[in-house]
Amino acid sequence: MKVFGLLAVILCGSLLLYSTGDFPDWGDKDSPANTYLSPHYITKSLEETAVPNMVTAVLADYRGYDTMFETTVIFSAGLACFFLLRISNKKEKKRTFYRHIATGIILHIKEGGKIPEDTSKFTQIDSQWTPNDLIIKVTCRMIIPFIQLFGLYVIAHGHHSPGGGFQGGVILGASMILFAISHDLRTTRKRISEKTAAILSTTGVLIYAGTGLLCMLFGAVFLDYSALAWLLGSDPIMARSHGMLMVEIGVGMAVMFVMIWIYYNISSAGKQEEGL
């Protein structure tokens, strides 16, 4: 099997290497990819959309449909993880351990035993629970607000500098995943429950599609933001810029909460109790 695989790979690779002779040179200004469509984006995007960052202009306006369905793909991936893995844990586990936070006394609760209700005094512990992670917790608690602020900046300033909804959404999602790693899954679920993550990721996709529908209500085609000029109180060119911001916020929300949702399901294999 190994020899056969190696032979197939070498054959495939050498065919590809042979075909590179027909490819344009590295950094060629007149290569096919750089000639037909892209000069229009580079020269016309600022006067057509008032957005200096061409990548954002192409992403959210010229190729709006593509980006909308990419967002839908991400949302579907989150749903797929949920349906594959999620186990409803209505049945209580056989034995549970609760730790009194102030004294450190551990209660061993047998099957069918009464569980302490006050979660501010008792915390459920499991095999993954470690007591000595004060440095990690404090460091993460200090870093996470700045990561989130940077994520919001990346989304909001995506028109003028590298950034946008996808990148900012991933940074925001990563900040919550960092929180979940440094503390534990149960603490994170108190901040952002699974239900919240599901509802807000759906909302993100709906903001995108809703912006498109709003354009249709104002008499233009789907995702033609210039129709929103009256609503936003600006000229049609600036309305495109603002419409892109609305769409990017939707993308950011969808990406952030789908990342968190996928992490919840994968890190705990669907139980959402122990986790990393």
């Binding site: 099997m1 190994k2 695989g5 190696l6 197939a8 790979v9 690779g13 590809l16 290497l17 590179t20 002779g21 490819f23 040179d25 590295w26 950094g27 060629d28 200004k29 290569s31 990819a33 750089n34 469509l37 892209s38 000069p39 984006y41 580079i42 020269t43 600022l46 006067e47 200096p52 960052n53 061409m54 990548v55 192409v58 992403l59 190729r63 593509d66 980006t67 990419e70 793909v73 991400i74 991936a77 989150g78 797929a80 993880c81 594959l84 893995l85 003028h160 500098s161 590298p162 946008g164 996808f166 990148q167 959404g169 991933v170 990406v255 789908v258 990342m259 996928i262 994968i266 294999a269």
Partner: protein, 131 residues
């Protein structure tokens, strides 16, 4: 030899991507462990992302973000001075989508492990054949 070197120097980027891509393909074909196969798939995707980004490169060109002034003066951009934004747009979405699909792949791997108690392909095959 000199001809070969000329071709190699003009197109060395493609050689890099093809080597990375073949490493990923080899991992997907040969490795028996499903997680290693998933890692191979990620390496394969990375090679394609690099390939697309390198297509948009132009010599002596800068990133596709224009200088913007609020005075309302729209300066004319020469297409030759800015790299091609289109591959960047395509890959920007592809990176995030690849992370999401990686999540689905890992979820499937977890499900297979819960069902069969192993991630080795041949062991799963023997368990399937027994039943």
């Amino acid at each position: 030899m000199n001809d070969f070197l000329e071709i190699f120097i003009a197109k060395y980027n493609y050689w890099g991507f093809i080597i990375i891509m073949m490493i990923g393909l080899y991992a997907m074909i040969v490795k028996r462990n499903l997680v290693k196969k998933i890692i191979g798939m990620s390496i394969f995707q990375t090679a394609i992302i690099l390939f697309y980004v390198s297509i948009g490169a132009k010599e002596n060109a800068t990133i596709p973000i224009l200088q913007h002034s609020h005075a309302g003066s729209v300066q004319s951009a020469e297409a030759i001075n800015y790299i091609n934004p289109l591959p960047h747009v395509l890959m920007l979405t592809a990176i995030v989508v690849s992370v999401a699909t990686l999540g689905v792949a890992l979820a499937l791997a977890i499900k297979i492990y819960q069902q069969y108690g192993t991630l080795e392909e041949d062991e799963i095959q023997t368990i399937i054949n027994k039943t």
